[in-house]
Symmetry: C2
Subunit: 362 residues, 2 copies
């Protein structure tokens, strides 16, 4: 069966489908657990969790599933605050704040979103999730060694061949090859890398040629066609976020769900306006304004200080123009269903395509 | 056999591989004819040819192959020259001209590169190549009707679903779904569309869902893995340019060929610096300088007036930093071989992957 790959063996899962970690308004435990229960690998985006919350979510996952799951963390550099950029960004955001009758943000110099640390590492070693994945950089060999010694599979994102080689050298077990199409934050090590995004079709075979560890394809994979394509390109599994966003278990508002289901191929762009790092999201008046002429913006995560108040209003009013809707270029392929049903369909679609190929070949 | 698709039936070719039209220093007749003779569809990029040259090349193709081939044309809008942009672009290019001891270009307001016209249409109707393809826009129904009445298959490039629907409505027989990864000019109807490029993985299934005509996948396809992926995504064939650039029949310099064979996944970017339209090319000091801050540039094809003298020096000196090396994100997959051998290998690679899938499935 095609669905047995090096990835499924490594993780002891039934289908090589990883639900990408995402951060929405409410915890994604129900979605992640449903994916794991259906034989895929559910993920929680833990970057914004306190240590206490992280431990709480791990316990909730253990209650909700006996199957393997993944926890994702950020490895971003500490931001360098810039006073001049603060002034110029405030000029750019002023019209939006004025329209919404908001005061300009006062404390923009710091943000509580820290990178992965020793305390979290110790907690993971203690609780032993099946997989831990990293975004925005290369884990140290101490991190990979400690996690692997605890029996945890270590994954991390690469957006080009050099990053994939660095991850392999650091002891990472699974490379997530994230193509240009992917929704959400690009996992590039280099924080301001906007223009040189490599598409999934070109990226996966080149990374598969470069490394010996299993490669998981991310970006633009929306159905069984994409899964078959990813495996043909040399991936041992897929990493799908957007496709799971419209699942019944995902706690998003009806307006958000409808936006996904009626989305178009060119809805999104890569924007640093939300967080400071390039992130694929639905274009909004705010993100388009902040992209014009490519102004200097504050480092990740400081831009949240400027975009956050707008998002808060957007959520309160259910107005998508002021929210950050992170999704990829294949959102138009999304279906409204449960995670279990989606995984069953994805598997059937891929199986049908592969059967078709074997018929052609005879 | 998988290699029989709607595209191969329509064109009466043996394998669903179209060699993308390209423009290099010397005519590509030997390459295109070799591809057609090997069972694929060879293409000539005819946009820069006079009517007399076009007729000459058609005759050369007829001599070199009895098999179907494709002729490609541009449908760009007439440029609007802008005096202020002329001054600001001259400021930007001045350091490069100074270094090379060149005088700044004097006649920048016009460029002889016209769009497809009635004279060419009449010549095509007379000579009846198997296929005529268009880039940069939607052909009129008069164009598609006249060509189709002459038994010519009409293809055109779409970079999003809306463009694909417009092409189908105009009577186009084959939609080339050009993903972000593709080398050379993006075929978007909108000339300044730089940021919203949709990757091949996301684009092909969405266009395949939207139109009834056969879809050909372009962008990032470098070997049999990419071909299998494209067919899995719903394409009836592939459009490969970069892969054929390093073929023995392609008249490029050894330095250029070596650059391709030693290229990396992130060598290229999308730049308007060369022609005025977004074009994926190897990054050069010139193209990077012209991308900084996204300055206003002249319309296509007027930017050739500013970039052309640099290219001329680059060619004379065999210096890649001053040439425009158009290639895609999968150039690192290129092989040094003949077109016939490349097509045989591509076919075998795809067959092997599909056989593997059918084994998994049993």
């Amino acid at each position: 069966m095609w669905s047995k790959t090096k990835l499924t063996s490594l993780l002891n899962i039934a289908v090589p489908i990883i639900q990408a970690p995402m951060i929405v308004q409410k915890p994604l435990v129900p979605l992640a657990a449903a994916v794991s229960n259906a034989g895929g690998l559910g993920s929680l985006g833990c970057a914004e969790m306190s240590v206490a919350e992280l431990e709480q979510r791990i316990k909730e996952m253990r209650k909700a599933t006996n199957n393997p799951f993944n926890l994702n963390f950020f490895l971003h550099q500490s931001p360098v605050y810039d006073d001049e950029i603060d002034s110029s960004v405030k000029e750019l955001i002023e019209p939006f704040y004025r329209k919404l009758k908001l005061e300009l943000p006062s404390d923009t110099a710091s943000n509580g979103l820290g990178a992965f640390d020793d305390e979290r590492l110790a907690l993971l070693v203690q609780h032993k999730p099946a997989m831990v994945s990293f975004h925005f950089g290369c884990p140290t060999t101490k991190i990979t060694e400690d996690l692997k010694a605890a029996g945890i599979v270590v994954a991390a994102t690469a957006t080009n061949v050099d990053e994939a080689l660095a991850l392999q050298a650091a002891g990472v077990d699974v490379v997530v090859a994230q193509g240009w199409e992917a929704g959400g934050h690009r996992g590039s090590f280099e924080p301001n890398f906007e223009d040189v995004g490599i598409g999934t079709m070109a990226l996966v075979p080149q990374i598969a040629d470069a490394v010996n560890v299993p490669v998981v394809a991310a970006g633009g994979i929306g159905d069984g066609r994409g899964i078959t394509a990813a495996l043909a390109l040399g991936a041992e599994g897929v990493w799908m976020g957007t496709a799971f966003l419209s699942c019944a278990e995902t706690p998003i508002t009806p307006v958000h769900r409808q936006a996904l289901l009626s989305s178009k191929d060119d809805d999104t762009h890569l924007s640093r306006a939300f967080s400071g790092r390039p992130c694929r999201a639905r274009r909004t008046p705010y993100s388009e304004q902040m992209a014009n002429g490519r102004p200097a913006l504050q480092d990740f995560p400081l831009m949240y200080n400027y975009s956050g108040p707008l998002k808060k209003i957007g959520i309160a009013r259910d107005d998508l123009d002021y929210q950050f809707l992170l999704y990829g270029q294949a959102a138009a392929l999304n279906r409204e269903t449960t995670a279990e049903e989606l995984i069953a369909r994805l598997k059937q679609e891929a199986t049908d395509i592969m059967r078709g190929f074997s018929t052609y070949d005879s």
